[in-house]
Structure formats: C-alpha cells, structure tokens
Amino acid sequence: MAIGKSKFRIDAPGKVTGETLYPADIDRENFIHAKVVFSNKPHARMKRMDLSAAEAVTGVLGIFTAADVPVNEYGLTMFDQPVMVGVNATGRSKVPSDVSRWEGDQVAVVVAETPEAAQAAAEKIQIEWEDLPLVHDVWDGLKDDVLVHPEAGTNAFKHYVIRKGAMDDGWAAADVIIEGRYEVPHQEHAYLQPEAAISYVDEMGRITIEIGGQWTHEDQEQVAHALDMPAEDIRIIYPAIGGAFGGREDMSLQIVMALASWKLYQKGETRPIRSQWSREESIIGHHKRHRAVVTTRWGATKDGKITAVEADVYLDAGAYNYTSNKVLGNFHLCVAGPYEIPNARIDSYAIYTTTVPGGAFRGFGAPQGAFAAESQMNKLADALGIDPLELRLMNCLHDESIAITQTPMPAGVSIRQVVEDCASASQWHQPLADAEPFQAFQSLAADKSNIRRGRGIACAYKNVGFSFGFPERCEAKIELYGSVEIERAVLYHSAAEVGQGTHTALRQMTAEALAIDYDKIEMVLSDTAFTGDSGSVSASRMTFMAGNAIKGAAERALEAWQNEDRPAVGQIRFTPRSTDMIDDVTGKGDANISYGYVAEVVELSVDIETGHIHIERVVCADDVGHAINPNLVVGQIEGAIVQAYGYAVTENLRVVDGRILNPRLSTYLIPGIKDIPLQVDSVLVEVPDPQGPWGARGMAEMPFIPLAPAIAAALHDATDVWFDKIPLTPENVIRTLRDNEKTS
C-alpha cells in the first residue's frame, strides 16, 4: 500500500535547503523588468492619459495600456473587469474600460532595462481623472444611487433564494425563536510569497508565463481570451508556489505580463521579463475573503427540533465579481448549517462596492455562513437549556436527509460521526478545569480574578468541488516503461503544489493505482505544454478529483501494458457526477457532488480587563474519508486552524473610503507563533466518500470553517456575552463586554 502512509513530502528537501526556486528567485542574466501601475483611484473616470514623459525615461522599452489589449476584459466566472483601465481601449469588449472601480485596478505595465527605470517611468505617467462618488459598503451599494457597473442595472448583481416548506408553519411550531445579526470581516491571504512572474516567448513561439497560480489551464484561458489568441499559443508553467489559499485564483500578473512579452517580441525584443510585487502591492492588488453581514432568525421546539430558518445574506463583492457569485452560493447553503431544516427562507445578495474585490479564500463562503449558523445553534441551545452538542446531534443531516436545496444529500453524510468523535476526544462531558493565569503574548499576566475560562463547540459542512452545475473535470496521463516488469511510470498532471503536499499525494495515489513501488513513479507537473487540465487546487477538490483521474488513467495504462504497448499509455479526463444550478425561484437543485464534514471544540481563557484571548486547546474532528497521507492531513488541519485563528481573532483589514489603510504585515496582524492555540488535537475521521478515490474526501478547507463560531461560543461560556462580530480583537472584546454591562 502506498496510500495511508505519511510519506515524506517530496518537495520538502528542496524547499528547506533553498534549492527550489519560487518565481521571484528565478534568475536569468538578461532579464528586463516590468512594473504594473495601479490606478490608486477607488472610483474615478479616466479623462486623459499621457505617457510621453514616462516613455522618455532612459531605459524604458515599452509601456502598455488598455489600448494594447485586444479584448480588454477579465473575469473568472463573468467578464466585468477591464484588464487595464484606460481611455483608448479597443472596444472589443462590452466592459466599459475608462472607469477605475478599485484602488488596485491596473492602468499600465511599464517594461524597462532596470526595475528602477520601470519605477521612475511609472511615476511619470500622467493621468487626468474625474472622481466619481464612492460606494463604501453593502448598505451604500443597496441604495443603487451610484452604480459601480451601470450596465448591470443594480449593484446587487447576484441573488440566490431558498424557499423550502412553509414559513408560517415553521414559526407556529417554534417554542423559541432566536434572532441574530452577524458581521464578518475581510481577510487577506498573506501568503509568504507575494506575486511574481517571468514571461517570454518560448522556442515554439508560445507566450509563456512562469508564475504561482492555482489552475494552469484557467490562467491560460484568461490570457488567451484577453489576447484573442488560441489557448495553445499561451503556455503557463508553475514553479514552486509560496502559498495560495484561493488568493491566486484570479489573475494578477498573468495577462499584463503576457501582453508585454507579446508586444515586445513583435518589436524584436526577446529577453525574458520579470516582475514582482511588494507586500503592499500584494495586499492592495489582489482580492480578499468577502466581508459580509447576515441577519437571521431560527425557530425550534422546546425539545430542540429546528422548525424554521430565515436568513438574509449581504456579501460585499467589491469592485468586480471575481468569484463572488460562486462564493455566495456556498454561503447561501452554509448559512443554514449541516442540519435538517423543514422550513426555510433564505435570500443572499452579492453587492458591488468600490472596494477591494472579494474572492476565493479557503472555505469559500462557508466560514461566513457557519459563523451565523453555528452562533444561532449555540444561542438556541442556551435558550432551550439543551447541551449544544446534543442539539446538534438532534438536528444534524444524515444519509436519508433532504438537503436545504430540497434534494437528497449525496451519500456518505458523516456530520453525526464527526460531532461525536470531537466530543469524545475533547472530553466534552467532563467539567472544564478552572482558569489559570496566563501570559498572553501581547499582554501582562492577569491575576486570576480577571480571567474567565470557557469551552465552545461548532460544526460545519462544505461542498467538495465547485459544483452548482459547473462542468468539473480533471485530466491525468500515465506512461509505463519497461519490458517484462514495469520499471518506471510517469504521471503527467497539472495539480498546483501550493504547499499543501499535493504532489506527494499524487505520487502515492499513482503507486497505489498501478500497484507498483512508490520510488518508480516520476512526475511531469504543471506545465500546459505537457500536462492536461486538472481544474483548480481549490474547493478541497484536488485529491478527490486527481485520485479518480489517476485511477482511471492507471486502469487504461495497465490495459495497454497487457496489450504489450511500450510505453503503455493511459489518459483520461475524469468527470464526476453532474450537478444543478439551484432554481431561481425555489432554490431547489442537486447543487453539489459531495460534502466534507467537521466539528471543533475550543477551550480558551479570556482576560476580561484587556480583551486578550488565549486558546489552550482546539480539538478538530475532520472526516477525510481515507487519509492518503495522514501527516499531510494533520498539517492541513493545523494550518487551517492557525489561519482561522487569525480570521477570528487578530486580522483586521481596515478599508476606509475605498482604500486599505493597513497593507503591511506590521499593521495587518496575522498570528505569530506565540499567539496561536497552544494545542491542536487532530482527529482523523474516516467515513468513506462513496465517490472518492479509495473513499478519500475533500478536507483541507473544513477545519477553517467552525473555528470562529466555536471561539465565540467559548467566549460566551466564559463571559455570558455573545460575540456576533469578528475579529475578536482585544478592542472588540472589551467594547462588547462593556456594551453588555450597560444593557444588562
């Protein structure tokens, strides 16, 4: 067996020794340098752009703008953003290109002999702007006084509904009704490696981009679309990637670098171009986890049966859609939690504003939904006097359940199992020991009288794969070499290694599928010139999809081997079962292929004078179906919990008048080693996913999802106060405690 073992990560030695090159490490002696220029205007119309002074800077080789982009539009799921904002766009796109709708909109790419010359020229670009009124937040957006995209007709450009059962019956049956309003913030991905790329025209005449991304073939398609070229003329290669978390799904440097290389190549300039963003540019220039507001009402009988759920979700999409319409879909389902809900009315809106776009980020709408749903469950439990663990067990989905989308749940529903396993691993039924004084890293040891201790629970589910009717696919090719015995096998695959360990898992699964030695597997990876479309490393989907693709390719390759083909080749494009977009009027539809399930218990202490939170323990039970590599799975759980801790407690992106005020790691505070939970107990639950390869289930987002509501529940246990707004910064905790003193 090659799977089920904690194989050493194949990318580890190179990364630890520094031998592995990330995009910004690649050094070619003849590099020329590109600088991407941001509009720095949250909302303004460009009246005039003058490049003459910039072009006169010594060393400048070319400055490219909207006027150079053949099809000046971009968007992963709908085209609503100009590749560059500019006045003389070609008009081959319907997207108006003269308006900057966000401070990070790109207006030009300058290429020069040195980075300094590129920078100097960038500063000399003269633009005349007409400022337009800002749309600060969702409430501003909903007024529709100022339209961010007039052609869309409204700022609330996407709306999903759920109409299930009869709300009147649901409320009539309820003995207790809990109302809540929840606010969740932006989150920055803060990956170690800021955006960087190199571009050139390769020996076959393909415009080539080496960059960190999450889906080579999507990058290829987006570049090809904007440049109006066949996809095969564009080549995308992923070198080592320093983290992604969803933040590399949308384009950063891909299109503008491709454009620059292509334009310069036509002028006979063949040197490769290099570009790299600073941390500030990275934070300003790419999307964030969406901030949102949820207002919701849940009813239950006195014995704890949920009778009705009503919710309104307001998602701040920012200036462009990016993946907001898809994030909203997940949010929409998760806001009702992994429970049987007989009657539901949910309305979810994605709303344009003139702020940083929201987009993909680990959990993809589920953390926001879970914060509302799980907080509601904890409040219900409190109001009913029922243990919050028991309340979950009474209501959670099972294999025979009808989903919130009014269709049967895909088989393999394991929420009960994860909740029970989490409870036993955390000794939920044992009393929590007394508070001990703690030395919060940021704080001073408080004396015992100011410390409160508490414990909280939350659980969650989330779809694996994009679904909602999306045509999912994942390609794999395997070649077998040898004569009598298979001496070596080569896997061709595009899965992006973003640090999660996917290449190690691919190799393990290939060895398993072929039943040959792990050491005989070679891999050709993430280069559109050689490897097929794998789909994105996102939505916890890659092990699930790639495993199935590898199994299929291995089967075919082994067949060819039996037929004496040498090399024996097997190739497949795996497509999972199809799904539906949910109905516009009822929200009905078989929306998702499969789900992942998770539960968490948090034990914490809080200093009620300073608001500092100290998490002593997190117990996470995550159903991984079948752990292909247990250590990597534990790594995903621990990493997700640290990242979710930042989301729930420390990270506080400030956006004022359309601008990010703290685009630096000195002021946008991601957790440090001394902040994070002292102990994380990972419980690997293995309820096979019937559709998963060897039963494996998507898992890497799940541990992120319930942490914030579990912390809020533990804080309530400690202080008797509900915290409905994150991040739980010391300031927020103290303010909320004081506001409650005043009202109670």
Binding site: Q442, L444, E609, T667, L669, E731
Partner: protein, 283 residues
C-alpha cells in the same frame, strides 16, 4: 523602501558633531539608526547628511554616584543588564529590557530613543515618572532639562538643531517601590500603552506616588490625578479603582490611536495597566 541618497561622516568628537549639525540643518545625528533609518526608508525623513556619533567614548558608559548617569550612546541592552541601573531605577532596566527585540536592544540607544520621541517608546515613560534630567550640549555650552519638559508632542522634543544629548541623569530611587508595565504591539513590541509608577511607601501607606503614561498618549506624560488618588492611600482596591479612572481623565486630551488600537481602547487600558503596575511594584 530605499532612502534618498545621503552623505555619511563619522564625528570625531561631540563638539565636531555639534558643529557639523549646526552648520548644516540638513544634517542629522546618527546613533543606533534603529529609528532614523526606518524613517528614512519610508521617506518620512530625508536628511542630506548623517553624522555618526556611535563611536564617541564620551557618550558611553553608565555610572552611579549619588545619582545615576547614563551616557546617551548606552544601548537598551546595556541599560537592561546594568547592576547600577537595577539598583537605582530598576524599572528603567525593565523598560529597556522590553524594547523591541534583541537586535533593536543591541543597537538602539537611550539618547536616540528619547531624541526620536516616538510616542510608543518605553524608556521615556519611566524617565518622566522618575524625574530624570536630560543633559544636552550645544555650541553655546551645556544645558539640562527635566524629562517632563523634554517630551512635548508626537516626535517632538525640546531639542534644537545642533544640540546633542550627552547623558541622562536619574535620581536614586532604590528605596521606592516601582514598576513599568506595558501592552506590547504584537508586531513591533512598541507600547500600545505603558505605565510607570514610583511609590514612596510608609508601611502599608503610600506616602507619595509618581505616575507616567506612554504609548496611549502623544508623548510620555505625568498623570497627576492618578498620583493624588494613590498618595495617602493604602493602595486598596478602592484607591486603585479611583486611580484607574483618574489616569483615564489625566490623559484624555493627549490620546493617540491607530487602526488596530483606537484611542478609546488605549485610554481604558491605561487604567488597567495602572492597577497592574501598582500591584507589580508592590510585588
């Protein structure tokens, strides 16, 4: 993140440094560089010339003879480790030991720290509470000023162009109960709020108290209301609570905040940290 181009000279003596900075207002003294260089990289400061005083022996050394005398070029690490400082004014050693990280403490100096007058600094708060005196040299001779009068506003002191801080003098407080406590910023370790208390005790009664606050305020400042609330009391809970609310009004006109820690929070924390400082002083 690159500074503007500048010239660099190494001063041959304190007088040389004074002359070079008096003749040229575009010149700046360079001590440890741990405040000046970051400011230059952010282009908040763009001096045309740096005059390096870091090797001048006259500005180094710590001695204790009735009062404590600390050369301006003493590093935070040297002060934190000095037996003389620990004996005369242990809370100054504590404050210097809490500055930034090892690198910052090994390079940053007390003179540079107070001349820069970052409101989030630690040592100024203790110096104000301790009633320290700043000794300054200039072309017209020498002068001295109390710490309380030295710190004026955000990054603003009583220091004028062409003046060099030579040493900082601190009274002998060995008979007092004192403490400095702070809430450090999670990224930089600068004080979000810092409180210094110096208590003169008579048995269980506090005969007199000196209290200073930094971090939460535009500069290190005395908190006289808190001082009166503590003086004459037995430092029981009632007195501490009274002092905690007094300190919040003492500083209400001088509050400072940022995106993560707004003024109101820092103000509230000054009360919390005052109570904790008194408890720490009483040990």
């Amino acid at each position: 993140m690159w500074p503007k181009e500048f010239d660099y000279v190494r001063a041959s003596s304190v007088d040389d440094a004074i002359q070079q900075t008096s003749d040229n207002t575009d010149a700046k003294i360079l001590a440890g560089g741990h405040s000046l260089l970051p400011a230059m990289k952010l282009r908040l400061s763009e001096p045309g010339k740096l005059v390096d005083i870091s090797r001048l022996a006259d500005l180094k050394g710590i001695s204790a003879n009735g009062t404590l005398s600390i050369g301006a070029m003493s590093t935070h690490a040297e002060i934190a480790a000095s037996a003389d400082v620990q004996q005369y004014c242990a809370s100054l050693a504590t404050a210097c030991g809490m500055v930034g990280d090892h690198q910052v403490r090994n390079f940053g100096t007390l003179g540079g720290n107070i001349a820069h007058a970052d409101p989030a600094s630690d040592p100024p708060t203790v110096l104000v509470a301790a009633g320290a005196t700043i000794h300054i040299k200039r072309s017209r001779g020498e002068r001295s000023v109390s710490a309380e009068d030295f710190f004026i506003d955000l990054f603003t002191t009583d220091l004028e162009d062409g003046e060099v801080i030579t040493r900082i003098e601190v009274p002998n407080l060995s008979g007092h109960k004192a403490a400095y406590v702070k809430m450090p910023h999670p990224a930089s370790r600068y004080a979000i709020v810092g409180v210094a208390v110096i208590l003169e005790m008579d048995g269980d009664t506090c005969k007199s108290a000196r209290v200073a606050v930094g971090g939460a305020t535009v500069s290190a400042m005395r908190a006289s209301g808190a001082e009166s609330a503590l003086s004459g009391s037995s430092l029981d809970d009632a007195a501490l609570n009274a002092a905690a609310s007094a300190v919040q009004s003492d500083i209400s006109d001088a509050l400072m905040g940022d995106v993560s820690y707004p003024e109101s929070y820092r103000q509230a924390m000054s009360g919390v940290y005052l109570k904790r400082a008194v408890k720490a002083a009483l040990g």
